[in-house]
């Protein structure tokens, strides 16, 4: 990811000053500091995908209704499509690329594999980001509680039962 940094840290632009044609933003994505000049209209989702080439985060509805764009901002899950990049100066952002790697999967990624928590896979990055955030949120113990906590992530293939099973297995691991 370090190769994605747009402006070298040696010559940082003033983080708060509006630039001609754009707005300067500095934030951390998956552990790497990123400095950008963005069009104020850019959403966090579009910046991640189009500027930083982090295409793991998906665009579904683009209106906060499907959850495919879910990322973590300062440790909390949000819909990247309903947030302007310019609002994230100083923030710490984690996308699915920062969750794990093929050789070192996050336990939730491994659980989705184990429990078949997806079919087409399009909603999966968002499901994973919601599922990992859920581990640190108030959420009851029952499958129905997990389903409610995951209600902001739509899966048109209908893998819901397996997604809940995957999440519950990770929560059980956490307790043992």
């Amino acid at each position: 990811m370090s190769s994605q940094v747009i402006v070298p840290e040696a010559e940082p632009s003033p983080p708060l000053a509006p630039s001609p044609g754009g707005f300067s933003v500095t934030f951390t994505v998956n552990g790497d500091r990123v400095e950008l000049v963005v069009d104020p209209r850019s959403t966090l989702l579009d910046t991640l995908r189009e500027t930083l080439d982090l295409t793991g985060t998906k665009k579904g509805c683009d209106h906060g209704q499907c959850g495919a764009c879910t990322v973590h901002v300062n440790g909390r899950r949000v819909n990247a499509c309903l947030s302007l990049t310019a609002m994230h100066d100083g923030d710490t952002i984690t996308t699915v690329e920062g969750l794990g790697a093929p050789a070192a999967l996050h336990p939730m990624q491994a659980a989705f594999l184990e429990h078949d928590g997806y079919q087409c896979g399009y909603c999966t990055p968002g499901q994973l980001m919601s599922a990992t955030a859920l581990l640190d949120e108030p959420c009851g113990p029952a499958d129905a509680d997990v389903a409610e906590c995951m209600s902001g992530n739509i899966c048109r293939c209908g893998a819901y039962q397996n997604i809940v099973a995957a999440i519950q297995s990770v929560r059980q691991q956490g307790k043992s």
Partner: protein
């Protein structure tokens, strides 16, 4: 999305100065950015207020609770004092939207949440709220989800918020800051009926900023519930909802507040119904009487007459829940 200038305010004073020539504040963005993408909201200037110190949830000297305008819906819903003393607010917040949206959405932004009327959200259609004087496509259109109380010939759009229903039953007040200083209004006076000016939804003036919402001390012995009826079990707006806060002693209502969501052009409260219940036994007959009073002036459109009965049953069931042992205190 239309072009706009963007700036970030670090202090309340900065935010107010930035808005002196007309600007739109952005907090969570879950309503505003959604509507900007649809060209329903077309601000020329957007001021980011997320760095203002308005996130606190603090006890007031009077024994109430002051909730900062930038306190996120998820933080309010899980706040220990809210859960203990104002559970109806926690329940209402958790019944709305999704965890991601609740992490973003702010208390002040939720107060200003715009209607989900399909015609308001689509600039191809006439809408007096979006384009004053253009007409109302909803009155003869798809109006199943729209309002039956507080409507006018110009607009039947529903206020979609759950939070605001609970705040209405809790008799919250709203604090606003503008160039003329701070003012406080009871939430019952904050929202405006559409009348002939549906584009005006609240008393908030241009350039004015909501700074907090204050809850009065919880009435001793109060029980409450938020009951939300909708087309699916989760992640859906209300067709009808009821927030009830009641003190029952010796089987009779000492005090009761009832607010409805999903059926009104604003969070709906009818003091006649509350007066009719207070001092009366908590019986199903009296619950039905209160429901009858609240819905007696309902004016359904072509597809939403079912909401009259739905709202009545919602009220009766919510009153039953708060007056039955075993529910949340």
């Amino acid at each position: 999305m239309n072009a706009f200038t963007f700036s970030r305010a670090a202090t309340l004073e900065e935010a107010l100065a930035e808005s002196s020539d007309g600007a739109t504040f952005v907090a969570g963005g879950t309503t505003l950015i959604d509507l900007m993408k649809l060209d329903v909201e077309v601000p020329a200037k957007v001021v980011d207020i997320n760095h203002l110190p308005l996130t606190g949830i603090t006890l007031t000297a009077a024994g109430g609770l002051r909730i900062g305008a930038l306190a996120r819906n998820s933080d309010v819903a899980h706040d220990a004092t809210v859960v203990r003393d104002y559970p109806v607010l926690s329940e209402a917040l958790l019944s709305g939207a999704s965890p991601q949206l609740r992490n973003m959405a702010s208390t002040g932004g939720n107060l200003l949440q715009r209607t989900r009327c399909l015609y308001f959200r689509d600039p191809a259609y006439a809408c007096n709220k979006r384009a004053p004087g253009s007409g109302c496509s909803a009155i003869d259109g798809f109006n199943r989800n729209l309002a039956i109380l507080g409507t006018s010939e110009h607009c039947i759009a529903t206020n979609p918020s759950d939070q605001n229903v609970a705040l209405t039953a809790l008799e919250a007040t709203v604090q606003m800051r503008g160039s003329n200083g701070e003012r406080t209004v009871p939430i019952s006076d904050f929202f405006l009926l559409p009348g002939a000016t549906p584009e005006r939804e609240t008393v908030l003036e241009p350039g004015e900023l909501i700074t907090s919402v204050t809850l009065p001390p919880p009435p001793a012995g109060a029980r409450s519930t938020y009951l939300k009826l909708r087309d699916r079990a989760s992640y859906e707006f209300a067709l009808a909802s009821a927030a009830v806060v009641a003190v029952v002693a010796g089987g009779s209502f000492e005090r009761v507040r009832i607010a409805l969501g999903g059926v009104g052009t604003k969070p709906w409260r009818n003091r006649d119904a509350e007066t009719a219940l207070e001092g009366k036994p908590a019986t199903s007959e009296n619950f039905a009487l209160a429901a009858q009073i609240i819905l007696r002036d309902a004016t359904p459109a072509s597809q939403n007459a079912f909401k009259i009965e739905l709202a009545k049953r919602c009220i009766v069931h919510a009153l039953t829940l708060v007056t039955t042992d075993g529910t949340q205190p």
